[in-house]
């Protein structure tokens, strides 16, 4: 429950806005400085004919960029995204999508580590004990999540066991109507997880909603020694939240739902309260990433608190600058709270106008 008075909260919100504006100025200076910026944004500024370093002084000024088109992230050369100021660092490339066609890519050096170290601060130690080992029951391959969860485990002093899971194959099976094959593949992943849980002393895990359900059909996680589950990767409904807490996990396993993707990082959930009625409320890692909820038909208009709109992401790290990107999700806008004095998002779900074309697999 929030402990802040309205005045305290107002002051915190104002302070966070000021920090965000300052962070925006710092990031714009970095990304559009010819010495430190990446080729993509430097070329962009040249073609746009205006200098963001002069004209962007606040977060609101990022509207001048218009909406970022994610097709820009497809294909090569991927080095156009590497900031010159970080060119000496080892570069990772993570992909998102890609079951058909060219996936979107994001280059990173340390962002995935920083994001998950920040997230680590939100995990209760009694349920995610320091030094405990983890199971990463999620996508492998060119996914950021794979390395990020491993880093999270290492950051907390543990070791992460992982499985082979190719989500693109699952999506192909589903699109072909080969549901039985997709089920078999899911069981193949669950079998790998069961083997790990039986052979090692694992106390914490990451998994996706569907894999959590499938795993709990085979094993009692509490009896298997699991104390905390960090869950994400696909949509979670309030009903799933309740089902996971009440029936899949029980009262002794902590459930940490998250909303994230390769472009944003990780939004953590607010501790549930009875009045939330199992709604899942996420807050982004401001100022590194900002989530807003905009009008379906006018993406420049932020909707009112409690109103429904499309999720708009702005990513502001030294490694990645993505202003005003319209996600394929919708939700309700959530007011700031004491722990997170900035806007959050409630009950994120696939954007209803795209829903027919979205296929979510086991992951």
């Amino acid at each position: 429950m929030s402990t802040a008075t309205p005045t305290d909260l107002f002051a915190k919100v104002q302070a966070s806005k000021e920090r965000l504006d300052a962070h925006v100025r710092e990031m714009v200076e970095w990304h559009f400085n010819p010495e430190t910026g990446c080729p993509f944004w430097l070329n962009w500024a040249q073609e746009a004919g205006w200098d963001p370093r002069k004209e962007v002084t606040s977060y609101a000024d990022l509207d001048k960029f218009g909406n970022f088109q994610d097709d820009e992230l497809r294909g090569g050369p991927v080095r156009r995204w590497v900031p010159k100021g970080l060119a000496h660092r080892p570069v990772y490339v993570f992909e998102t999508g890609g079951s058909t066609g060219v996936p979107k890519s994001r280059v990173q050096m340390d962002d995935f580590r920083i994001d998950y170290e920040n997230f680590s601060e939100t995990l209760p130690d009694e349920h995610f004990p320091k030094g405990a080992d983890w199971l990463m029951l999620g996508p492998s391959g060119p996914r950021r999540l794979r390395l990020a969860v491993e880093h999270l485990a290492q950051h907390r002093g543990g070791i992460a066991f992982s499985v082979d899971l190719d989500p693109r194959w699952v999506i192909k099976l589903i699109k072909r109507g080969q549901i039985q094959e997709a089920e078999l593949y899911k069981q193949h992943c669950i079998d790998q997880a069961l083997t790990i849980l039986r052979a090692h002393e694992v106390k914490c895990m990451f998994t996706t909603p569907k894999l959590l359900e499938a795993l709990c059909e085979k094993i009692n996680l509490e009896k298997a020694g699991i104390k905390g589950v960090f869950c994400g990767g696909t949509e979670m409904t309030p009903q799933f939240h309740r089902f996971a807490v009440e029936e899949l996990l029980g009262p002794n396993i902590y459930f940490a739902p998250t909303y994230g993707n390769t472009l944003m990082g990780l939004a953590t959930h607010k501790a549930p309260e009875p009045e939330d009625n199992w709604a899942i409320i996420y807050y982004p890692p401001v100022p590194r990433a900002v989530l807003e909820v905009v009008d379906f038909d006018d993406a420049t208009r932020i909707v009112g608190y409690g109103e429904t709109g499309r999720v708009r992401l702005t990513t502001l790290t030294k490694e990645t600058f993505i202003p005003r990107f319209l996600e394929r999700d919708e939700c309700e806008r959530e007011a700031p709270c004491d722990q997170y004095p900035w806007d959050g998002v409630r009950n994120v779900r696939p954007f209803s106008r795209f829903q027919k074309s979205v296929v979510e697999g086991v992951y």
């Binding site: 549901i179 089920e183 569907k210 359900e213 709990c216 009903q239 799933f240 199992w278």
Partner: protein
């Protein structure tokens, strides 16, 4: 607003996720139903063997007696509905509110369901063809000195139900007497009837633990069909196609039911007009046993014109009109889309003669509701795209064919009423594998005989026969 919970083996569960069904006229939310997430369904299905064991504890005679009592409760009693209760009249009004069916049609369907429950022994005799239903309890028996044995093919039957009309519920209702628990996914706007049948059964003494009632999404429905030993699916062409390769699932898609007139029947078509009107328009054309095409070797145009003249008399009336003959569509956009689809295929000589008689199109607005009025499409040939279609309102195509085209030109046909004395055609119809139910003579396609397997044999679906031998002292 009234809320309908999920029933998890009889135990009410209120979900955080809900869906509302709207009133067909006001378009305002009328009832809210808890929505089951797929994982919850899967978790519950892991316990279906427990429900099966409960039903195995009853004799078939006991279950038949309970079905008989349930018939009366379903028809006449106030039964639980969520946190409240529902009288028979409230049930009629509720079904009407979310499906658009006039009260008289709801009552007719109610009587149909009550009929099958009341006639359960006759129904089971018809389905099993066993001389003695006690054999269902022992699993072994003897017919004329030949040993017989059978076993259940699954622990429960999952049923994906439609929203168009409550009459279809009579098809799965006997499963309880066949000792098979039910996992039901109600139609999104016809939540009422399966819930009421369950309550009637429970009041009659059937343990609530043998019933699952899961309003859910399309994905949740898939979990039900995948997770139950046997399944039954009511759906459109696309849904039927998606499950057509799974032998565990009995599929009830469009019926493409037909009347054929040949030889003397074709010559004397006038005397069958009442029969044709009933077959086409009864239950507002919503049933798969409604006739959707008439095939004649005689004068198709004259028959179509006469039928159009009769069907054009059907007009929208109040929901409580005892003579109501056409139902509004709960979603006006659907009416317009269906009508546009029919219009788009009216080419190459096909003509809606009913619209011509009425002097107006088939989409009609009345008292704030949208109706699809009957259409009689005279098509120029059996190859025309509208010759053999079904749209869920009183729609019939009239096709003139050569005698030698019958019956091969008919294609899959749930019910075929043949109006002819031509014995050779009778023989060809009897040999045709695509006809589900054959009526020889002037019998409406809508008429159901409960001692006959109807739209698939539920006993054959739920049970399998096995070879069996035993020394006499072991089988008493």
């Amino acid at each position: 607003m009234l809320h309908l919970p999920i029933l998890r083996y009889g135990k009410p569960y209120r979900s955080v996720d809900t869906a509302t069904a709207v009133h067909y006229r006001t378009r305002q939310p009328f009832v809210e139903a808890s929505q089951a997430n797929a994982g919850l369904i899967r978790r519950d299905l892991a316990r279906q063997h427990e429900a099966a064991a409960i039903l195995q504890g009853f004799t078939t005679r006991e279950l038949i007696a309970m079905a008989g009592k349930a018939s009366g409760y379903f028809l006449n009693d106030t039964l639980p509905l969520g946190d409240s209760a529902q009288s028979p009249q409230e049930f009629v009004e509720a079904v009407s509110a979310t499906t658009g069916l006039p009260w008289v049609m709801v009552r007719r369907n109610m009587a149909k369901i009550a009929g099958v429950l009341a006639s359960m022994e006759t129904v089971l005799m018809g389905l099993t063809r066993l001389p003695n239903l006690d054999m269902l309890d022992s699993g072994v028996g003897d017919i004329d000195g030949r040993a017989l044995s059978f076993f259940p093919r699954g622990d429960s039957m999952g049923v994906i139900l439609p929203s168009n009309s409550p009459g279809v519920h009579s098809l799965w209702a006997p499963a309880i007497a066949l000792k098979t628990p039910l996992i039901l996914k109600p139609g999104s706007s016809e939540l009422w009837t399966p819930y009421r049948i369950i309550q009637a059964y429970v009041k009659a003494g059937v343990p609530a633990e043998v019933f699952g009632y899961y309003p859910t999404s399309h994905a949740g429905g898939g979990e039900i069909l995948r997770g139950t030993g046997r399944g039954m699916l009511f759906g459109d062409v696309a849904a039927a196609k998606a499950w057509s390769g799974d032998p565990r699932i009995e599929i009830h898609g469009p019926g493409y039911s037909k009347i054929i007139l040949a030889d003397d029947g074709a010559a004397g078509w006038e005397k069958y007009l009442d029969l044709m009107v009933d077959s086409v328009s009864n239950n507002s054309g919503r049933s798969c046993v409604n006739c959707s095409s008439i095939w004649t070797t005689g004068d198709g145009r004259a028959l179509a014109e006469a039928l159009a003249e009769r069907l054009a008399r059907i007009k929208p009336t109040a929901e409580d009109d005892p003579n109501a003959a056409v139902a509004p569509l709960a979603n006006p956009d659907v009416a317009k889309r269906i009508s546009a689809m029919v219009d788009s295929e009216l080419d190459g000589g096909a003509e809606d003669l009913c619209a011509k008689v009425r002097g107006s199109g088939r989409v009609a607005e009345w008292d704030g509701c949208t109706y699809l009025l009957p259409s009689v499409i005279h098509v120029p040939s059996k190859e025309h795209s509208l010759a053999n279609r079904e749209f869920g309102y009183p729609h019939v195509s009239v096709v003139q064919v050569e005698p030698h085209d019958l019956p091969e030109c008919l294609g899959p046909t749930l019910v075929c009423t043949a109006l002819t004395n031509d014995k050779r055609l009778h023989q060809r119809l009897l040999a045709n594998p695509h006809i589900g139910r054959l009526n020889l003579g002037p019998i409406s396609t809508m008429k159901i005989s409960w001692d006959q397997p109807h739209e698939g044999n539920l006993f054959d679906h739920l049970y399998s026969r096995r070879a069996f031998q035993a020394v006499p002292e072991l089988v008493g």
